[in-house]
C-alpha cells in the first residue's frame, strides 16, 4: 500500500478534513470528516437521513469530488488516482440500479467486463457469484422479475465480482424482510472473515451492533462519536434491571433490599423500580433472591441495556429516524 511508505499503518480508508461544500448556497454536506478504517475491519457508519452519510460514501467511491481535505481508499488518492480506487473497491449503492430487462447472469458478465476481468474469468466468476448469493437458479431470469431481496443480493454479487479489497455497502438492508437481512448479514460476516474491509452505512442500529467492529456516528456533516459499539454504549451508561412489583405498597422495601445488588432508583410509576447494575444478566438471580427473601411479589423483571440509540441520542440530541421500523 502506498501509505506504508509514509510510515502510516495499513488502513483501508483514511480521510483528513474531508469536506464537500455545494457551490449553491455554500452549504456543507460533509464538514471535516476524519476517518481511519483499518484493513479487514467492518466499519459501521450511522446517521439519519441528510446527515452526510451518503455524500461521504460518494466522496470515498469517487462519484463526487471533495472540496477540501484528502481521502485515501485502498492506498490510492480518490482525487489524484480515482481509477485505481475504482479498481480496488466494490460498491453496492442504496438504490440498486439494475437494468430490469437484463438477466442476473448478463448483468454480472457486463460488470465483470467493465471491471476488466480476463475473458476466461467472466463466465466462471459470474456463475460462482450467482451461486454464492443464492441466485444460481434465478440467474437466467430477467431482473424485472426479481424480488427486492434478490435484487440486493445480485447487487452485492456485482459489487464483489472483481474481488475488491474494500467493499462499500450503502444501507444494504433498508426495506428488506428479516430473512433476506439475515442472509446479507451472514455474507458480510464471511467477507470480514476473509479479510475484506467493509464500510457499511445504515440507519438500523441493530445492524451496526451486529456487524460492525467499530461505529462512526455522523451528524450535521461531521463525525460526533466513533468507537466499538460496546465502548460507545458503556460510555452512555450501565445496564439496569427494570422491576415491576405486584403491590405498589412494597416499593419502599424493595428499594431498600435491592441496594445490596445494585443502585436502585424509583421507576416512572409507583409499582416500578430500576436497579443499576454492572452486567445485567449476572445480577438478575441475586436480585430475584433478595426480593423473594423479603417476601416481595414481583410482577415482571427485565434487563435493559443501553443501545446505540441512547448513544445516538446523547451525541446528536435526536433519535435515529427509522429505528422503530427495524424488523426483529
Amino acid at each position: 500500500m502506498a501509505l506504508d511508505c509514509l510510515g502510516v499503518p495499513p488502513h483501508a480508508i483514511v480521510t483528513t478534513g474531508l469536506e464537500k461544500r455545494y457551490p449553491r448556497g455554500g452549504t456543507y454536506a460533509v464538514r471535516g470528516v476524519d476517518l481511519a478504517v483499518e484493513e479487514g475491519e467492518v466499519y459501521g457508519f450511522l446517521g439519519p437521513n441528510g446527515a452526510g452519510k451518503s455524500t461521504t460514501v460518494r466522496l470515498l467511491v469517487t462519484l463526487l469530488r471533495p472540496t477540501a481535505g484528502t481521502a485515501f481508499v485502498a492506498g490510492h488518492d480518490v482525487v489524484k488516482d480515482p481509477a485505481a480506487v475504482r479498481a480496488s473497491i466494490g460498491v453496492a449503492l442504496q438504490d440498486a440500479a439494475i437494468d430490469p430487462l437484463m438477466t442476473g447472469r448478463e448483468l454480472l458478465r457486463l460488470q465483470s467486463v467493465l471491471h476488466g476481468l480476463g475473458r476466461r474469468e467472466v463466465g466462471p466468476r459470474s456463475d460462482l457469484l450467482l451461486d454464492r448469493v443464492g441466485l444460481a437458479e434465478a440467474g437466467d431470469k430477467r431482473v424485472g422479475e426479481y424480488s427486492g431481496g434478490m435484487r440486493r443480493r445480485l447487487d452485492l454479487a456485482m459489487a464483489l465480482i472483481h474481488e475488491p479489497s474494500v467493499l462499500f455497502l450503502d444501507e444494504p438492508t433498508t426495506g428488506l424482510d428479516p430473512s433476506s437481512r439475515l442472509l446479507l448479514w451472514n455474507e458480510v460476516r464471511r467477507l470480514r472473515d476473509q479479510g475484506t474491509t467493509v464500510f457499511l452505512t445504515t440507519q438500523y442500529l441493530e445492524e451496526a451492533d451486529q456487524l460492525a467492529d467499530r461505529v462512526g456516528i455522523i451528524s450535521g456533516g461531521s463525525i460526533v462519536a466513533e468507537d466499538t459499539p460496546e465502548a460507545l454504549k458503556a460510555e452512555v451508561g450501565r445496564p439496569h434491571v427494570h422491576v415491576s412489583l405486584a403491590d405498589p405498597a412494597d416499593l419502599a422495601r424493595a428499594l431498600e433490599v435491592a441496594a445490596s445488588v445494585g443502585r436502585p432508583t424509583p421507576g416512572v410509576t409507583l409499582e416500578c423500580l430500576d436497579v443499576s447494575v454492572e452486567d445485567g444478566a449476572r445480577e438478575l438471580p441475586a436480585l430475584v433472591r433478595v426480593l423473594d427473601d423479603a417476601g416481595i411479589a414481583v410482577a415482571g423483571m427485565s434487563v435493559v441495556r443501553p443501545t446505540l440509540d441512547d448513544v445516538f441520542l446523547q451525541k446528536t440530541g435526536e433519535h435515529l429516524a427509522d429505528t422503530d421500523e427495524v424488523p426483529a
Binding site: 437494468d99 458478465r109 467486463v113 476488466g116 454464492r132 443464492g134 474481488e163 475488491p164
Partner: protein
C-alpha cells in the same frame, strides 16, 4: 447466500484481469455496453416503432401535401418524395440518437450511470458504448423506412448511394446521441427529453429540408447556410437527387466530424462535471 462450499481467495489479485489502459477506450467493455443498449431494443417490443412511424408519416404526408412544389425550378428533381426522403431518414436517425439521451437521463435518475462510473472503465469507454449502440440501433428503422419509400416510388440509389446512406444515417445517429447525452449529463433527468428531441428535430428542419437553399426565404436561408445539418442533408440527398460528387460528400463528412467532435468534448466535460 448459502453456506459457502467454495473457498475464494480473500484479496484481489487472484483473478486474472485484462489490461485496461487509462484514457484509452476499452473495446471489450464497449462491446458489452453496446450489447446492453441493443438488448433494450430487442426485448421491448415496439421500441423501434416511433423511429419508423413518425418519419414515415412525415415523409408520406409532406409528399402528399407539398408534392407539387418541385414544379418550381430549382429542386433538380420532379420527385418531392426523393427530395424529402433524406430528411425523413435523418429524422429517424435523430430520433434514435435522441433516445440515447432519454435513456441516459433515466439511467442517471435510477443510478445506473453511477454503477458504470464506479467501474474502472473510462468515461471515453462509456460514451463510446452509448454512441455506438445508437448508431447500430438506427439500422433497424432504416431499412423499414427505405422499403416504405421505395414502395411509394422513391428512386433506388446506386450501390455507393446505399453505402453513403447507411454511413450518414448511422453517423448522424451517433452525433445526435452524443448531443442528447450532453443534455442528459447537464440536466440529469428524463425531464430533459423534450429538449433533446426538439433541438435535434429543429436542427434538421431549419436546414435546406423542404427546398433547396436558393428557394428558401432569406432569413431561413441564412440559418440553413450556417447549419451543418444542411451539409449532411445535401450529402444524403445526392444519393437520391442528381449525382454523387466528392465535394458534397466531403462536406457532409466534415460537418459530421466537426459537430461530432464538439459534442464529444462537451460530453466528456459533462462527465467531468457530473462528479462535482
Amino acid at each position: 447466500m448459502q453456506p459457502d462450499p467454495v473457498t475464494s481467495p480473500a484479496s484481489s489479485g487472484a483473478i486474472e484481469h485484462r489490461r485496461m489502459r487509462r484514457g484509452v477506450v476499452d473495446l471489450p467493455a464497449v462491446r458489452a455496453l453496446v450489447v446492453r443498449g441493443l438488448n433494450e431494443l430487442l426485448r421491448v417490443p415496439g421500441a423501434a416503432i416511433p423511429g419508423i412511424v413518425s418519419p414515415a408519416i412525415f415523409l408520406l404526408g409532406l409528399t402528399l401535401v407539398f408534392g407539387k412544389a418541385t414544379q418550381i425550378p430549382g429542386y433538380g428533381t420532379q420527385s418531392f418524395l426523393a427530395f424529402v426522403l433524406p430528411v425523413a431518414l435523418l429524422q429517424s436517425a435523430g430520433f434514435t440518437g435522441g433516445a440515447t439521451g432519454v435513456n441516459l437521463g433515466r439511467d442517471i435518475e435510477q443510478g445506473w450511470l453511477d454503477r458504470l462510473l464506479l467501474s474502472p472503465a473510462g468515461r471515453g469507454t462509456i460514451l463510446t458504448g452509448l454512441v455506438l449502440s445508437a448508431a447500430l440501433r438506427v439500422l433497424i428503422p432504416l431499412p423499414a423506412l427505405l422499403i416504405i419509400a421505395f414502395a411509394v416510388g422513391a428512386p433506388i440509389p446506386s450501390f455507393i448511394g446505399f453505402v453513403l446512406t447507411i454511413v450518414f444515417v448511422t453517423a448522424f445517429a451517433a452525433v445526435a446521441a452524443t448531443w442528447s447525452s450532453v443534455l442528459a449529463l447537464k440536466f440529469r433527468s428524463q425531464q430533459a427529453s423534450p429538449l433533446m428531441q426538439s433541438t435535434i428535430l429543429s436542427s434538421i428542419l431549419f436546414s435546406a429540408s423542404y427546398a433547396p437553399l436558393s428557394l428558401l426565404q432569406p432569413w431561413m436561408k441564412a440559418i440553413a447556410e450556417h447549419n451543418p445539418v444542411t451539409l449532411i442533408l445535401e450529402g444524403m440527398r445526392q444519393c437520391y437527387v442528381g449525382s454523387i460528387t466528392w465535394e458534397v460528400t466531403w462536406h457532409a463528412f466534415a460537418a459530421l466530424g466537426g459537430t461530432g467532435l464538439v459534442f464529444v468534448l462537451l460530453a466528456l466535460r459533462g462527465f467531468g462535471r457530473y462528479e462535482r
